[in-house]
Amino acid sequence: MLRAEGLTYGPPGLPPLHRGLTVLLNPGELLHVVGANGTGKSMLARTLLGISAATEGRVTIDFPGTRYLPQMQNRAAHLPYTLGDVLRFEAPNAASWCGLGLLRSEQFSLAWNKASGGERQRTLLTRFFLQQGDLLILDEPFNHLDVESRDIVRRLLSETLRMNPHSGALLISHDDEPRNWMGPVPVRTLSLGGA
């Protein structure tokens, strides 16, 4: 279970974006966080994970292990990483990389700095689904993706939650309705306003 009570957070030195927020995610369910740009969706994820400090409130995470897909900034890196380098950090066995259907083997030697936004996002998503951890936090996973890749990500997320009832997912996305594709997995929505 992930539980946050009385959560007050916002950018450092500025008034809080939210005061006294309650967030609850039970095993086996998906929490869909929605809200307009600037309402603090990404900052909520970072606060729950302890990357950003909350002004007030308490966060409890009982899930064994966390996987986190931050919103991709589409930046270049100084070191000449290949897409394979990025995946190798997580799973040394290259045979597992293709199994998810997001990347083809000929793309593994492609330079990160020359890859398209879609190829970069598919690499990060492959890395995410190769990780271990029952708490899944995805921040705008559908950005840069074509229709086919979006369907694959929806299927992978739905399968992960159905096959492991101890896992739970927090999905930040403002252009998708998970109830349409999560099947029997319970979906709750947390609106941060403005959507």
Binding site: P70, M72, P80, Y81, V86
Partner: protein, 281 residues
Amino acid sequence: MKELLLLYWPTILAAIFTGATLSVVGALLVTRQAAVQTLAVSQSAGLGVSLGLLVSQIFFPDGHLEHTAIPLVFGLAVSAAGFASTEWIARHSHTQTVVYLAAFALFWGASQLLTGFFPVIESHATALYFGDIVTLTKGESLFFFALSGCLSVYLLLFWRGLSARAFLSAILDEPLRLRSPLDLGFYVTSLALVCLSVQMLGLLFTLSCLFVPTAVYSFSASVGVGPHLGRVALSAGVVSGSGFILSLADSRFLTTPLITVLLAIFPLVHLGLERLLFRCK
């Protein structure tokens, strides 16, 4: 020449290993977007060493200032404080580069102010910026060889994890986790090497080895983290050793400036030949 090589073999080893290790550390620091912060921290090490020289002068007026442990301890302490303070301020600022550059200017100004008030440390402070590998004692050379050798073993063992952490920090904005043993080990050993290198080999040598090879090789068409780190280490090691030997052969070659220029020329020639061979195929 043979006699000179026999005399300076520990220094040549120290130059090769320190140059190679610094170049890999530099590539990882640049990827972690910490290049400008390193500039500021290196300058803070310089300030610490100047302070240490002053304290040495007060307590050991007849000793060799630069050979006591006091400048070393002050250099390490002030650079650790410089790292911690720039890190803290940058986390509370949206314009990190400006904060680092301001800190660099501040540390530089403070060093100059100190030198103005206490001219006795002026020659040592000047040596700090331009350094001279030739002045290393045999003991200091072997110490550098051992230190950079240990760090290079650490880098060889953990380069994949360290470059993964650098990727997460650069691309996904994941903050440094100083509580992570991998990051902590990297920062502590890198800080120690950079600080000692600034004190004994000079700021110019340190910054050149950290940033010149990785900057030139970033123009390479070939990809892969391992090959890039291997190339920067090899070129910096070869250039630091051969530059030192060249400066022994002809005293008109100033050691550190020669190494700095060769650190750019060697990878440029390498990349040029590589492209030529690629076109011929």
